[in-house]
Amino acid sequence: MRIGNRRPPPVPDAELIRSLAALLDETGLSEIEYESGGTRIRVAKGGTVVAAAAPALAPIGPAPTPATLPAGANGADHAGMVTSPMVGVVYLAAQPGTPPFVRIGDTVTEGQTLLIIEAMKVMNQIRAPQAGRVAQILVADADAVEYGAALMLIE
């Protein structure tokens, strides 16, 4: 997602992907595979891109095109990742000023409300798909999210 006034959700690998793309041009290689920690990124030129779409953006270079990642690419495939089932606005607490539904480190039970996504004035509760510990919260209160956006990681 690229939207104007609001900040898009964090995309940890975007910069790395861009550097690899640049490296690809520089070296004239047709493909670079890069693995480090949990991440594995393969960039290929003029062709299909496995892990992310960013390098493929190059062909549409001249137009101002901030990276658009396919929903799900920003870690959403990770087991235990809770992703957004809709487009809307995230609320981490029931009311402004009230404590958030969950904090990092909390243990949650399956079905427990993690956050709310407002879409068309409807407040949709997003529930934990399984019991576990809240390892990461990837959105901030009032963030706009698109379909498939990574919300929280439950371990």
């Binding site: 997602m1 690229r2 939207i3 104007g4 006034n5 609001r6 003029g46 062709g47 299909t48 779409a53 493929a56 953006l57 062909p59 549409i60 137009a63 101002p64 095109t65 658009t68 990642l69 396919p70 929903a71 799900g72 690419a73 809709m86 487009v87 809307g88 606005v89 879409a119 068309m120 706009a144 698109e146 379909y147 498939g148 956006a149």
Partner: protein
Amino acid sequence: MFEKILIANRGEIALRIHRACREMGIKTVAVHSTADSTAMNVRLADESVCIGPPPARASYLNVASILSAAAITGADAIHPGLGFLSENAEFARLVEEHGFTWIGPSPEHIALMGDKVRAKEEARRLGIPTVPGSPEAVATLDAAIEAARLVGYPVLLKAAAGGGGRGMKLAHNEAQLAEALPLAQAEAKAAFSDDTVYLERYLERPRHIEVQLIGDGDGGVIHLGERDCSLQRSHQKLLEETPSPALTPASRQRLQTIAVNALKKLGYKSTGTMEFLYQDGEFYFIEMNTRLQVEHPISEMISGVDIVREQIRIAAGEPLNIAQSDIRLSGHAIECRINAESPDDFRPSPGRISEYHAPGGLGIRVDSAVYQGYSVPPYYDSLIAKLVIYGANREECLMRLSRALGEYVIGGIETTLPLHQRLVDDPGFRRGDYHIHWLDEFLARPR
């Protein structure tokens, strides 16, 4: 004028609308399914929002996601493009309810023309000729014979409850009608447990002729001439041209007058198209499309009018700033639909485009959102490019089309390019001597 428009569509038409916005200084929001994340219209848009998974019902038909996307991006207006939600009156109503401007005609006009039976009644009310038929059901042979006499042979018996060809019977004369009536009634009874049938004139070799119209809802109505869309494969348009090689100046004049007057009476506000069957010098209304059409570019080529720009201007409440007298229809234009499908059996051929090179030079326009390295997803319509050719006259246009087809390179998938090359080489097509069944016959010919 709008500051930001959300384009609720995909592919070449989404890009077409994006381009019009850019040229008007309007920001664009692209919405897309996960399958279209790297599409060109998404990359070129100022903002983009993923609205759902690949299946259209979960993304491009997902009203809640689209309206939410408009809300979070702060769009002023929503352009539905064509197909998907473009003729969904309920969606148009919701868009307005949520405080966005709908770039299209009023929900009432969409609903009216969406109901094919009401649309025909309205057409008659507006003085538009329709296919002559029996006013009501023909229960007895005498009634059928009498109705057929008035309508004129050949006639087609149709089940009133019907559709899908069941209960349909063709009769060229009284004898055949006598045989056909009981059969039609029996089939209708079996299919719809209702043996009511009516009859209408059957057109054997009609052309499909449509008129491009723009109304500002304020008395301003212009037409941009007709389009001949008779080249259809099982009701799918493949190649369109304007002007029609079949119309005389007089019949053209008559058609334009009928359509413009009707649109004025209707108080229609947006772009729209009236479709007619044309045979033996007579026009018969089929339906009206209350949206932009795939083949709109050929009308732009001969009129110099940017149809999408006018559609947006009118939605923003501006009146038409072109009078019919300002419009000079000149030259000839042809559109070839380049589909990602086999040119022989029309099997869809999605996949990665390994080579792409579009033709260029004088008189060539290509509307396409594909590029070398792009993968055509299997989930949607197979149209990937529109090759639009302009020439000072039909012959020049055909010569240019032939050379452009020779330059067009789309590798890695099958496309309809070879079929278009066969068409442009065909003497019958070159003579302009075809009708709505012609292409199916052409394809059935041994090669």
